[in-house]
């Protein structure tokens, strides 16, 4: 998971034309953004529409011949038990997007709360929140999730997303805090205070709009990160206890030695799905970074 470049210069950039129009002008012309975005949309569509096009039913059902290579009827072949890999893949996409959204959203909300409060308030509040951030940062998220999931009986995709969100927000909080710190000293914040605005009104009506592009990019990275962590958890066997996810597909492929048996169509698509989603998100994010950041654009 990449870490964002130092955020400070972003805030200093003065937009020339109407703030929106110039970014829009570059956005529609930025190849990375267009490719990344379209790929994500295609995958999302397959994830949402796919299961409807099939006759529904449980993707883990034994329907076809065992270990059949991809052919006309089973586009992605079948597993050693005769499960339709394509059906699993399509349902898996849906679960992966869900855990990405839930995990990414929760992490983003916590990061914003901690980052804005610490950055704007400063003093004791800043030090306490900073300590909390560093503690959660140091403890490897997977180790914590490991213990929690091991104790939890039933695990749904949403709960998994929740726990991932609760442990993957620190780096984002730290980035928001740094940028809020630099924006806080700007005089339009003082002027807002002189107009009787309270803390949260200033944070969300004055500071946040200046970071909107930055917050969106951060959400994209949290979304992708959440998917990667979830797939690792599924692979260890701590995935959702019902339904299917791309990580679970990889886990069962590994468990039933698809690799040794050469059933490549069982373990190639799920990993490719995850990589495509996360990769497309990162590339779109770079495109956005270039749109909002003229320095990167010229290079």
């Amino acid at each position: 998971m990449t870490t964002l470049p130092d955020p400070a210069p972003v805030a200093a950039e003065q937009p020339a034309a109407k703030p929106g129009s110039e970014s829009l002008h570059y956005a529609v012309r930025n190849p990375k953004l267009l490719i990344g975005l379209s790929l994500v949309l295609v995958l999302l569509a397959t994830g949402l529409l796919g299961p409807l096009l099939l006759d529904g039913g449980n993707p883990n059902e034994y329907v076809g011949p065992q270990a059949a290579a991809p052919d006309g009827t089973y586009w992605m072949g079948t597993t050693t038990f005769g499960q339709d890999v394509y059906a699993q893949f399509v349902h898996g996409l849906r679960a992966t997007f869900l855990v990405g959204a839930v995990g990414g959203a929760i992490a983003a909300v916590i990061a914003m709360l901690v980052g804005f409060l610490a950055g704007y308030r400063g003093g004791i509040v800043d030090e306490v929140l900073n300590m909390l951030t560093n503690v959660v940062l140091v403890i490897p998220a997977l180790a914590v999730l490991l213990i929690i999931n091991a104790y939890l009986g039933v695990r749904s995709v949403a709960v998994q997303g929740l726990f991932i969100g609760l442990t993957s927000w620190p780096w984002a909080a730290r980035a928001i805090r740094a940028q809020t710190f630099s924006l806080r000293t700007r005089e339009f914040v003082d002027l807002a205070r002189l107009s009787g605005s309270g803390t949260w009104r200033i944070v969300f009506r004055e500071i946040a709009p200046n970071m909107s592009s930055y917050l969106f990019m951060m959400f994209i990275l949290l979304f992708g990160g959440s998917i990667l962590i979830a797939s690792s958890l599924d692979f260890i066997g701590l995935g959702p206890t019902e339904g299917v996810s791309l990580g679970l597909m990889l886990q069962s492929a590994q468990q039933w030695s698809a690799l040794q048996l050469g059933l490549w169509w069982w373990f190639i698509p799920p990993g490719a799905g995850i990589t495509a989603i996360v990769g497309a998100l990162y590339v779109a994010n770079v495109g956005l970074d270039e749109v909002f950041n003229p320095k990167l654009r010229e290079s």
Binding site: P5, L137, L142, S232, K295
Partner: protein, 264 residues
């Protein structure tokens, strides 16, 4: 919860309780036996990927062709789940090409010991897990460095050096040096993710490190082993973070003068 103080007391003396899965061996011994393999896998892959990633990132900030080829590959690599690239490498170089063994830390017919055959064999098993960890981490560092260098090349001191006609070589050397610093703290931030990557990679290759132990502990509900592994990981990451912070203070003069309340 009366057991907790007793458990804590025991932990302090390194007694992690008895493993259920590998009854009656104490958890501590089981973990200590697996630790060298995990460290042997993680330390080289993390450090080598860090240096190589930064070097490639610096290069791609300079040459357009590199920027358009290396970086997309970098994004692809960093987007790959660790276990998937492990499976792909195992399948391509292991099952298909047969160059490397598919699983295990060493061949079963060899006794572990400090003799040439064992070391060579262990290395032979080590290559694929190392390579998959190395590649994924490499992508992340290359991208981070490329962006950092572009910012440094835009800074005032670079502009001043160019205004005095300094050659690009010198300007880029300074930019690289200053761009590396945030990558050092980046290493500390990434440790949690790298550890997770190592664990799942071990599981793919059935590599006898902490990862395989944790999988076994989960499957056998061996909570003692699980807690022991968790503590090992957390302590390891804390120590690594501490070392990295020390390296950072040594490398970045600004923090040193900041600490001493230098005028700025």
């Amino acid at each position: 919860m009366a057991a907790v103080p007793a458990l804590l007391g025991a932990l302090l003396q390194g007694d992690f309780g008895i493993s259920i899965w590998v009854f009656p061996t104490p958890v501590g011994d089981v973990l200590l036996e697996a630790l060298p393999y995990t460290l042997g896998l993680m330390i080289p892959s993390v450090l080598l990927s860090w240096f190589a990633g930064n070097w490639i990132g610096a290069l791609s900030a300079r040459r357009k062709i590199l920027d358009n080829t290396v970086l997309p590959v970098g994004y692809l690599l960093t987007a790959m789940p660790y276990m998937w690239i492990a499976v792909i490498l195992a399948w391509a170089f292991g099952a298909q090409a047969g160059w490397f063994p598919l699983s295990g830390g060493y061949s079963l017919d060899i006794q572990p010991g400090w003799n040439a055959d064992f070391v060579l064999d262990a290395l032979h098993h080590w290559v694929l897990p190392f390579l998959s960890l190395f590649l994924v981490a490499l992508g992340g560092w290359a991208i981070g460095m490329r962006n950092m260098i572009i910012y440094e090349l835009e800074s005032d001191y670079s502009a001043y050096l160019s205004a005095l006609g300094a050659p690009q070589r010198l300007i880029r050397r300074y930019a690289f040096r200053n761009a590396v610093l945030p990558q050092v703290t980046g290493l500390a931030l990434q440790l949690g993710v790298l550890v997770a990557g190592a664990l799942v990679t071990e599981i793919v290759f059935a590599y006898p490190g902490l990862g395989s132990l944790i999988l076994a502990a989960i499957q056998n509900q061996d909570f003692f082993l699980l807690q022991g592994a968790f503590l090992f990981i957390v302590i390891g990451v804390l120590i690594a973070n501490f070392l990295i912070d020390i390296v950072y203070v040594v490398v970045d003069p600004r923090t040193r003068t900041g600490m001493a309340g230098g005028t700025s």
